[in-house]
Protein backbone atom coordinates (compact mmCIF):
# COMPACT_ATOMS: atom_id res chain seq x y z
CA UNK A 1 0.00 0.00 0.00
CA UNK A 2 3.00 2.25 0.28
CA UNK A 3 2.80 2.91 -3.41
CA UNK A 4 -0.87 3.86 -3.36
CA UNK A 5 -0.40 6.07 -0.34
CA UNK A 6 2.48 7.87 -1.91
CA UNK A 7 0.51 8.71 -5.02
CA UNK A 8 -2.59 9.75 -3.10
CA UNK A 9 -1.70 13.45 -2.92
CA UNK A 10 -1.05 13.40 -6.63
CA UNK A 11 -4.60 12.29 -7.34
CA UNK A 12 -5.87 14.92 -4.96
CA UNK A 13 -3.90 17.49 -6.85
CA UNK A 14 -5.72 16.73 -10.08
CA UNK A 15 -9.04 17.47 -8.43
CA UNK A 16 -7.64 20.66 -6.95
CA UNK A 17 -6.31 21.84 -10.26
CA UNK A 18 -9.77 21.66 -11.77
CA UNK A 19 -11.08 24.16 -9.26
CA UNK A 20 -8.29 26.63 -9.38
CA UNK A 21 -4.62 27.38 -9.07
CA UNK A 22 -2.46 25.14 -6.94
CA UNK A 23 0.13 26.74 -4.69
CA UNK A 24 3.60 26.36 -6.13
CA UNK A 25 4.87 24.62 -3.02
CA UNK A 26 2.33 21.82 -3.61
CA UNK A 27 3.44 21.42 -7.21
CA UNK A 28 6.98 20.87 -5.97
CA UNK A 29 5.73 18.07 -3.71
CA UNK A 30 3.79 16.40 -6.51
CA UNK A 31 6.74 16.70 -8.82
CA UNK A 32 8.96 15.03 -6.24
CA UNK A 33 6.46 12.19 -5.93
CA UNK A 34 6.31 11.84 -9.71
CA UNK A 35 10.09 11.84 -10.05
CA UNK A 36 10.45 9.26 -7.30
CA UNK A 37 7.93 6.99 -9.03
CA UNK A 38 9.80 7.26 -12.33
CA UNK A 39 13.14 6.70 -10.61
CA UNK A 40 11.76 3.58 -8.90
CA UNK A 41 10.63 2.23 -12.30
CA UNK A 42 6.99 2.43 -11.32
CA UNK A 43 4.34 3.19 -13.91
CA UNK A 44 2.50 6.50 -14.06
CA UNK A 45 -1.24 5.96 -14.41
CA UNK A 46 -3.91 8.33 -15.79
CA UNK A 47 -5.02 9.72 -12.42
CA UNK A 48 -1.50 10.40 -11.17
CA UNK A 49 -0.18 13.91 -11.21
CA UNK A 50 2.31 14.43 -14.03
CA UNK A 51 4.23 17.43 -15.38
CA UNK A 52 2.47 19.17 -18.27
CA UNK A 53 5.49 18.60 -20.50
CA UNK A 54 5.41 14.84 -19.74
CA UNK A 55 1.75 14.76 -20.73
CA UNK A 56 2.27 16.72 -23.94
CA UNK A 57 5.31 14.63 -24.90
CA UNK A 58 3.25 11.47 -24.48
CA UNK A 59 0.36 12.90 -26.46
CA UNK A 60 2.70 13.81 -29.31
CA UNK A 61 4.48 10.46 -29.32
CA UNK A 62 1.48 8.16 -28.86
CA UNK A 63 -0.63 10.12 -31.36
CA UNK A 64 2.17 9.92 -33.92
CA UNK A 65 2.46 6.20 -33.23
CA UNK A 66 -1.31 5.68 -33.62
CA UNK A 67 -1.38 7.68 -36.85
CA UNK A 68 1.53 5.60 -38.19
CA UNK A 69 -0.38 2.38 -37.61
CA UNK A 70 -3.40 3.46 -39.61
CA UNK A 71 -1.54 5.32 -42.37
CA UNK A 72 0.70 2.25 -42.58
CA UNK A 73 -2.28 0.22 -43.74
CA UNK A 74 -2.29 2.04 -47.08
CA UNK A 75 0.96 0.92 -48.75
CA UNK A 76 0.25 -2.72 -47.94
CA UNK A 77 -3.48 -2.64 -48.68
CA UNK A 78 -2.39 -1.52 -52.14
CA UNK A 79 -1.46 -5.17 -52.83
CA UNK A 80 -4.35 -7.07 -51.24
CA UNK A 81 -6.30 -7.36 -54.49
CA UNK A 82 -3.19 -8.44 -56.38
CA UNK A 83 -1.72 -10.96 -53.93
CA UNK A 84 -0.33 -13.92 -55.91
CA UNK A 85 -2.26 -16.62 -53.99
CA UNK A 86 -5.22 -17.00 -51.68
CA UNK A 87 -2.82 -17.89 -48.87
CA UNK A 88 -0.86 -14.67 -49.34
CA UNK A 89 -4.03 -12.66 -49.65
CA UNK A 90 -5.45 -14.00 -46.39
CA UNK A 91 -2.14 -13.32 -44.61
CA UNK A 92 -1.94 -9.77 -45.93
CA UNK A 93 -5.53 -9.00 -44.97
CA UNK A 94 -4.86 -10.35 -41.47
CA UNK A 95 -1.77 -8.16 -41.18
CA UNK A 96 -3.47 -4.98 -42.37
CA UNK A 97 -6.34 -5.73 -40.00
CA UNK A 98 -3.83 -6.02 -37.14
CA UNK A 99 -2.40 -2.61 -38.00
CA UNK A 100 -5.89 -1.11 -37.72
CA UNK A 101 -6.12 -2.78 -34.32
CA UNK A 102 -2.78 -1.32 -33.25
CA UNK A 103 -4.05 2.13 -34.18
CA UNK A 104 -7.12 1.60 -32.01
CA UNK A 105 -5.11 0.38 -28.98
CA UNK A 106 -2.94 3.46 -29.25
CA UNK A 107 -5.74 5.98 -29.76
CA UNK A 108 -7.36 4.59 -26.61
CA UNK A 109 -4.08 4.93 -24.73
CA UNK A 110 -3.60 8.56 -25.77
CA UNK A 111 -7.22 9.37 -24.89
CA UNK A 112 -6.41 8.60 -21.23
CA UNK A 113 -4.30 11.78 -21.34
CA UNK A 114 -7.35 13.94 -21.94
CA UNK A 115 -7.44 14.34 -25.72
CA UNK A 116 -10.37 13.28 -27.88
CA UNK A 117 -10.38 11.00 -30.92
CA UNK A 118 -11.90 13.74 -33.09
CA UNK A 119 -9.12 16.13 -32.16
CA UNK A 120 -6.44 13.53 -32.94
CA UNK A 121 -7.88 12.65 -36.34
CA UNK A 122 -8.35 16.30 -37.16
CA UNK A 123 -4.69 17.00 -36.37
CA UNK A 124 -3.63 14.09 -38.57
CA UNK A 125 -5.83 15.27 -41.42
CA UNK A 126 -4.53 18.83 -41.22
CA UNK A 127 -0.88 17.87 -40.82
CA UNK A 128 -0.55 19.20 -37.27
CA UNK A 129 0.45 15.75 -36.00
CA UNK A 130 2.82 13.49 -37.87
CA UNK A 131 3.16 9.83 -38.71
CA UNK A 132 6.26 7.80 -39.46
CA UNK A 133 8.06 9.02 -42.60
CA UNK A 134 8.45 5.42 -43.82
CA UNK A 135 4.85 5.28 -45.00
CA UNK A 136 5.44 8.03 -47.53
CA UNK A 137 7.28 5.60 -49.79
CA UNK A 138 5.38 3.68 -52.48
CA UNK A 139 4.90 -0.09 -52.75
CA UNK A 140 5.93 -0.66 -56.35
CA UNK A 141 6.00 -4.47 -56.52
CA UNK A 142 4.68 -7.47 -54.65
CA UNK A 143 8.13 -7.93 -53.09
CA UNK A 144 7.61 -4.64 -51.24
CA UNK A 145 5.05 -6.42 -49.06
CA UNK A 146 7.83 -8.77 -48.00
CA UNK A 147 10.36 -5.98 -47.48
CA UNK A 148 7.88 -4.05 -45.35
CA UNK A 149 7.12 -7.05 -43.16
CA UNK A 150 10.76 -7.95 -42.71
CA UNK A 151 12.33 -4.48 -42.42
CA UNK A 152 9.60 -2.01 -41.47
CA UNK A 153 7.85 -4.28 -38.98
CA UNK A 154 11.29 -5.47 -37.87
CA UNK A 155 12.35 -1.90 -37.12
CA UNK A 156 9.01 -1.24 -35.43
CA UNK A 157 9.54 -4.27 -33.18
CA UNK A 158 13.03 -3.07 -32.23
CA UNK A 159 11.48 0.27 -31.29
CA UNK A 160 8.43 -1.15 -29.55
CA UNK A 161 9.88 -3.89 -27.36
CA UNK A 162 11.50 -1.36 -24.98
CA UNK A 163 8.27 0.69 -25.04
CA UNK A 164 6.59 -2.21 -23.21
CA UNK A 165 8.48 -0.81 -20.18
CA UNK A 166 7.55 2.81 -20.87
CA UNK A 167 6.82 4.79 -17.70
CA UNK A 168 3.26 5.58 -18.79
CA UNK A 169 1.07 2.57 -17.92
CA UNK A 170 -1.59 2.69 -20.68
CA UNK A 171 1.06 3.13 -23.40
CA UNK A 172 3.20 0.30 -22.00
CA UNK A 173 0.19 -2.04 -21.87
CA UNK A 174 -0.84 -1.18 -25.43
CA UNK A 175 2.72 -1.98 -26.53
CA UNK A 176 2.60 -5.42 -24.90
CA UNK A 177 -0.43 -6.27 -27.02
CA UNK A 178 1.11 -4.81 -30.17
CA UNK A 179 4.43 -6.63 -29.74
CA UNK A 180 2.67 -9.98 -29.34
CA UNK A 181 1.06 -9.44 -32.74
CA UNK A 182 4.05 -8.00 -34.57
CA UNK A 183 6.02 -11.23 -34.64
CA UNK A 184 3.77 -12.73 -37.30
CA UNK A 185 4.09 -9.56 -39.38
CA UNK A 186 7.84 -9.80 -39.53
CA UNK A 187 7.86 -13.53 -40.18
CA UNK A 188 5.40 -13.44 -43.05
CA UNK A 189 7.54 -10.73 -44.67
CA UNK A 190 10.70 -12.76 -44.24
CA UNK A 191 9.00 -15.89 -45.57
CA UNK A 192 7.63 -13.99 -48.58
CA UNK A 193 11.07 -12.62 -49.43
CA UNK A 194 12.66 -16.04 -48.97
CA UNK A 195 10.15 -17.58 -51.40
CA UNK A 196 10.98 -14.90 -53.99
CA UNK A 197 14.69 -15.12 -53.34
CA UNK A 198 14.62 -18.89 -53.94
CA UNK A 199 12.41 -18.50 -57.01
CA UNK A 200 13.27 -17.55 -60.59
CA UNK A 201 16.06 -15.04 -61.28
CA UNK A 202 13.33 -12.43 -61.95
CA UNK A 203 11.73 -13.11 -58.60
CA UNK A 204 15.08 -12.92 -56.84
CA UNK A 205 15.78 -9.60 -58.54
CA UNK A 206 12.39 -8.30 -57.48
CA UNK A 207 13.12 -9.19 -53.84
CA UNK A 208 16.56 -7.57 -54.05
CA UNK A 209 15.12 -4.40 -55.58
CA UNK A 210 12.54 -4.11 -52.78
CA UNK A 211 15.20 -4.52 -50.09
CA UNK A 212 17.40 -1.97 -51.86
CA UNK A 213 14.58 0.59 -51.72
CA UNK A 214 13.36 -0.10 -48.16
CA UNK A 215 16.65 -0.49 -46.30
CA UNK A 216 17.63 3.15 -45.82
CA UNK A 217 14.13 4.47 -45.06
CA UNK A 218 13.84 1.67 -42.46
CA UNK A 219 17.00 2.92 -40.73
CA UNK A 220 15.48 6.41 -40.67
CA UNK A 221 12.50 5.04 -38.71
CA UNK A 222 14.60 5.28 -35.54
CA UNK A 223 14.68 9.04 -35.89
CA UNK A 224 17.52 11.55 -36.20
CA UNK A 225 20.96 10.87 -34.69
CA UNK A 226 21.14 11.34 -30.92
CA UNK A 227 22.97 14.67 -31.09
CA UNK A 228 20.21 16.13 -33.28
CA UNK A 229 17.20 14.57 -31.63
CA UNK A 230 15.24 17.35 -29.98
CA UNK A 231 13.21 15.33 -27.49
CA UNK A 232 15.40 12.31 -26.81
CA UNK A 233 17.23 13.26 -23.61
CA UNK A 234 14.13 14.37 -21.72
CA UNK A 235 12.15 11.33 -22.91
CA UNK A 236 14.91 9.07 -21.65
CA UNK A 237 15.00 10.86 -18.30
CA UNK A 238 11.23 10.30 -18.00
CA UNK A 239 11.69 6.68 -19.09
CA UNK A 240 9.26 7.13 -21.94
CA UNK A 241 12.17 5.99 -24.08
CA UNK A 242 14.62 3.43 -22.77
CA UNK A 243 17.26 3.54 -25.49
CA UNK A 244 18.52 6.28 -27.78
CA UNK A 245 17.72 6.42 -31.50
CA UNK A 246 21.28 5.46 -32.44
CA UNK A 247 21.37 2.53 -30.01
CA UNK A 248 18.17 1.08 -31.44
CA UNK A 249 19.28 1.66 -35.01
CA UNK A 250 22.54 -0.19 -34.32
CA UNK A 251 20.66 -3.05 -32.68
CA UNK A 252 18.42 -3.34 -35.74
CA UNK A 253 21.34 -3.35 -38.17
CA UNK A 254 23.14 -6.02 -36.16
CA UNK A 255 20.03 -8.21 -36.34
CA UNK A 256 19.41 -7.63 -40.05
CA UNK A 257 22.83 -8.35 -41.53
CA UNK A 258 22.81 -12.10 -40.78
CA UNK A 259 19.12 -12.31 -41.68
CA UNK A 260 19.80 -10.75 -45.09
CA UNK A 261 22.49 -13.37 -45.60
CA UNK A 262 20.05 -16.16 -44.78
CA UNK A 263 17.70 -14.66 -47.40
CA UNK A 264 20.52 -14.66 -49.94
CA UNK A 265 19.93 -10.93 -50.41
CA UNK A 266 22.33 -8.05 -49.95
CA UNK A 267 21.85 -4.78 -48.10
CA UNK A 268 22.56 -1.66 -50.19
CA UNK A 269 25.43 -0.32 -48.10
CA UNK A 270 29.04 -0.87 -49.25
CA UNK A 271 30.32 0.29 -45.84
CA UNK A 272 28.51 -2.44 -43.93
CA UNK A 273 31.11 -4.57 -42.13
CA UNK A 274 31.67 -6.21 -38.77
CA UNK A 275 33.71 -4.16 -36.35
CA UNK A 276 35.38 -6.56 -33.96
CA UNK A 277 36.37 -3.80 -31.57
CA UNK A 278 32.90 -2.31 -31.23
CA UNK A 279 31.16 -5.68 -31.44
CA UNK A 280 28.76 -4.13 -33.96
CA UNK A 281 28.40 -3.67 -37.68
CA UNK A 282 29.71 -0.39 -39.05
CA UNK A 283 27.47 1.22 -41.63
CA UNK A 284 27.55 4.07 -44.13
CA UNK A 285 26.14 7.58 -43.73
CA UNK A 286 22.36 8.01 -43.72
CA UNK A 287 20.88 10.63 -46.03
CA UNK A 288 19.26 12.85 -43.41
CA UNK A 289 18.47 15.50 -46.01
CA UNK A 290 16.08 13.01 -47.60
CA UNK A 291 14.57 12.25 -44.18
CA UNK A 292 13.93 15.94 -43.50
CA UNK A 293 12.37 16.40 -46.94
CA UNK A 294 9.98 13.50 -46.40
CA UNK A 295 9.07 14.81 -42.93
CA UNK A 296 8.42 18.23 -44.46
CA UNK A 297 5.87 16.66 -46.76
CA UNK A 298 7.95 16.20 -49.89
CA UNK A 299 8.18 12.41 -49.90
CA UNK A 300 6.87 10.43 -52.86
CA UNK A 301 3.45 9.69 -51.29
CA UNK A 302 2.78 12.27 -48.54
CA UNK A 303 -0.12 13.90 -50.32
CA UNK A 304 -1.63 10.65 -51.45
CA UNK A 305 -1.55 9.17 -47.92
CA UNK A 306 -3.31 12.12 -46.29
CA UNK A 307 -5.86 12.66 -49.04
CA UNK A 308 -6.74 8.96 -49.00
CA UNK A 309 -7.09 9.08 -45.21
CA UNK A 310 -9.36 12.14 -45.41
CA UNK A 311 -11.39 10.54 -48.16
CA UNK A 312 -11.88 7.36 -46.11
CA UNK A 313 -12.92 9.48 -43.14
CA UNK A 314 -15.36 11.61 -45.14
CA UNK A 315 -16.83 8.66 -46.98
CA UNK A 316 -17.37 6.90 -43.68
CA UNK A 317 -19.39 9.80 -42.27
CA UNK A 318 -22.75 8.31 -43.24
CA UNK A 319 -21.88 5.07 -41.40
CA UNK A 320 -21.05 6.94 -38.19
CA UNK A 321 -24.21 9.03 -38.54
CA UNK A 322 -26.40 5.98 -39.15
CA UNK A 323 -24.86 4.13 -36.19
CA UNK A 324 -25.34 7.15 -33.93
CA UNK A 325 -28.96 7.54 -35.03
CA UNK A 326 -29.61 3.86 -34.39
CA UNK A 327 -27.97 4.05 -30.95
CA UNK A 328 -29.92 7.18 -30.02
CA UNK A 329 -33.18 5.50 -30.96
CA UNK A 330 -32.39 2.39 -28.92
CA UNK A 331 -30.85 4.21 -25.97
CA UNK A 332 -34.06 6.15 -25.74
CA UNK A 333 -35.87 2.85 -25.26
CA UNK A 334 -33.48 1.21 -22.76
CA UNK A 335 -32.30 4.26 -20.88
CA UNK A 336 -28.65 3.29 -21.34
CA UNK A 337 -26.25 6.18 -21.50
CA UNK A 338 -23.07 6.55 -23.47
CA UNK A 339 -20.29 6.96 -20.91
CA UNK A 340 -16.64 7.71 -21.50
CA UNK A 341 -14.24 4.79 -21.06
CA UNK A 342 -13.10 4.14 -17.54
CA UNK A 343 -9.66 5.63 -17.98
CA UNK A 344 -11.20 8.70 -19.53
CA UNK A 345 -13.62 8.82 -16.62
CA UNK A 346 -10.54 8.86 -14.43
CA UNK A 347 -9.43 11.99 -16.19
CA UNK A 348 -12.68 13.74 -15.57
CA UNK A 349 -12.65 12.74 -11.93
CA UNK A 350 -15.91 10.84 -12.38
CA UNK A 351 -14.76 7.36 -11.46
Amino acid sequence: MVEGDRMAPAAAHRTASVDGAVPEADTAVYEAVFNAAVAADERIEPRDWMPDAYRSTLVRQIAQHAHSEIIGMQPEANWISRAPSLRRKAILMAKVQDEAGHGLYLYSAVETLGVSREELLDKLHTGRQKYSSIFNYPTLTWADVGAIGWLVDGAAITNQVPLCRCSYGPYARAMVRVCKEESFHQRQGYELLLALSQGTPEQHAMAQDAVDRWWWPSLMMFGPPDDESAHSAQSMAWKIKRHSNDELRQRFIDICVPQAKSLNLTLPDPDLRWNEERGHYDFGPIDWAEFREVIKGNGPCNEQRISQRRKAHDEGAWVREAAAAYAAKHNGATGAAVEPSADTADMNGKA
Partner: protein, 95 residues
Protein backbone atom coordinates in the same frame (compact mmCIF):
# COMPACT_ATOMS: atom_id res chain seq x y z
CA UNK B 1 -40.54 2.07 2.72
CA UNK B 2 -39.02 -0.27 0.22
CA UNK B 3 -36.44 -2.90 1.04
CA UNK B 4 -35.50 -3.38 -2.58
CA UNK B 5 -32.16 -4.99 -3.25
CA UNK B 6 -29.66 -2.26 -4.09
CA UNK B 7 -28.04 -2.45 -7.52
CA UNK B 8 -25.24 -4.80 -8.43
CA UNK B 9 -21.76 -3.47 -9.21
CA UNK B 10 -18.82 -5.17 -10.88
CA UNK B 11 -15.50 -4.50 -9.18
CA UNK B 12 -12.18 -4.11 -11.01
CA UNK B 13 -8.95 -3.87 -9.03
CA UNK B 14 -5.52 -2.71 -10.14
CA UNK B 15 -3.10 -4.68 -8.00
CA UNK B 16 -0.24 -2.32 -8.66
CA UNK B 17 0.47 0.55 -10.98
CA UNK B 18 1.54 -0.66 -14.38
CA UNK B 19 -1.04 -3.46 -14.47
CA UNK B 20 -4.57 -3.26 -15.88
CA UNK B 21 -7.60 -3.26 -13.61
CA UNK B 22 -8.89 -6.83 -13.57
CA UNK B 23 -12.27 -8.14 -12.57
CA UNK B 24 -12.32 -9.14 -8.91
CA UNK B 25 -16.02 -9.84 -8.35
CA UNK B 26 -19.23 -8.00 -7.63
CA UNK B 27 -21.25 -6.54 -4.78
CA UNK B 28 -24.50 -4.73 -4.03
CA UNK B 29 -24.53 -1.04 -3.08
CA UNK B 30 -27.07 1.77 -3.38
CA UNK B 31 -24.70 4.15 -5.18
CA UNK B 32 -21.26 4.43 -6.76
CA UNK B 33 -19.61 6.03 -3.75
CA UNK B 34 -20.72 3.26 -1.39
CA UNK B 35 -19.91 0.62 -3.99
CA UNK B 36 -16.35 1.96 -4.07
CA UNK B 37 -16.00 1.90 -0.29
CA UNK B 38 -17.57 -1.53 0.00
CA UNK B 39 -15.32 -2.81 -2.76
CA UNK B 40 -12.30 -1.59 -0.85
CA UNK B 41 -13.46 -3.43 2.28
CA UNK B 42 -14.46 -6.56 0.39
CA UNK B 43 -11.72 -7.01 -2.18
CA UNK B 44 -8.63 -5.18 -0.89
CA UNK B 45 -8.43 -5.98 2.81
CA UNK B 46 -4.88 -7.28 2.41
CA UNK B 47 -3.46 -4.65 0.15
CA UNK B 48 -4.59 -6.37 -3.03
CA UNK B 49 -5.04 -3.11 -4.86
CA UNK B 50 -3.97 0.48 -5.41
CA UNK B 51 -6.97 1.47 -7.52
CA UNK B 52 -10.56 0.29 -7.87
CA UNK B 53 -13.20 0.77 -10.54
CA UNK B 54 -16.85 -0.02 -9.89
CA UNK B 55 -19.20 -0.40 -12.84
CA UNK B 56 -22.97 -0.92 -12.66
CA UNK B 57 -23.48 -4.56 -13.68
CA UNK B 58 -26.37 -3.59 -15.88
CA UNK B 59 -24.07 -1.30 -17.86
CA UNK B 60 -22.08 -4.33 -18.99
CA UNK B 61 -23.04 -5.94 -22.28
CA UNK B 62 -21.76 -9.51 -22.44
CA UNK B 63 -21.46 -11.95 -25.30
CA UNK B 64 -23.88 -14.82 -25.03
CA UNK B 65 -22.61 -18.31 -24.14
CA UNK B 66 -25.10 -19.80 -26.64
CA UNK B 67 -23.51 -17.88 -29.45
CA UNK B 68 -19.99 -18.66 -28.33
CA UNK B 69 -19.14 -20.89 -31.27
CA UNK B 70 -20.51 -18.68 -34.00
CA UNK B 71 -19.16 -15.58 -32.31
CA UNK B 72 -15.55 -16.69 -31.93
CA UNK B 73 -15.33 -19.14 -34.78
CA UNK B 74 -13.95 -16.66 -37.34
CA UNK B 75 -10.64 -16.60 -35.47
CA UNK B 76 -10.30 -20.39 -35.33
CA UNK B 77 -9.51 -20.99 -38.99
CA UNK B 78 -6.84 -18.31 -39.28
CA UNK B 79 -3.65 -20.01 -38.09
CA UNK B 80 -1.68 -17.54 -40.21
CA UNK B 81 -2.28 -14.92 -37.53
CA UNK B 82 0.29 -16.78 -35.40
CA UNK B 83 4.05 -16.55 -35.91
CA UNK B 84 4.39 -20.34 -35.69
CA UNK B 85 2.54 -20.63 -39.01
CA UNK B 86 5.65 -19.51 -40.89
CA UNK B 87 8.62 -21.70 -41.62
CA UNK B 88 11.91 -20.01 -40.92
CA UNK B 89 15.19 -21.70 -41.85
CA UNK B 90 17.12 -23.12 -38.94
CA UNK B 91 19.62 -20.84 -37.24
CA UNK B 92 17.99 -17.55 -38.24
CA UNK B 93 17.78 -15.43 -35.10
CA UNK B 94 15.55 -12.62 -33.84
CA UNK B 95 12.54 -13.50 -35.95
Amino acid sequence: MTTEQSPLWEVFVRSRRGLSHTHAGSLHAPDAELALRNARDLYTRRGEGVSIWVVPSKAITASSPDEKDAFFEPAADKPYRHPTFYEIPEGVKHL
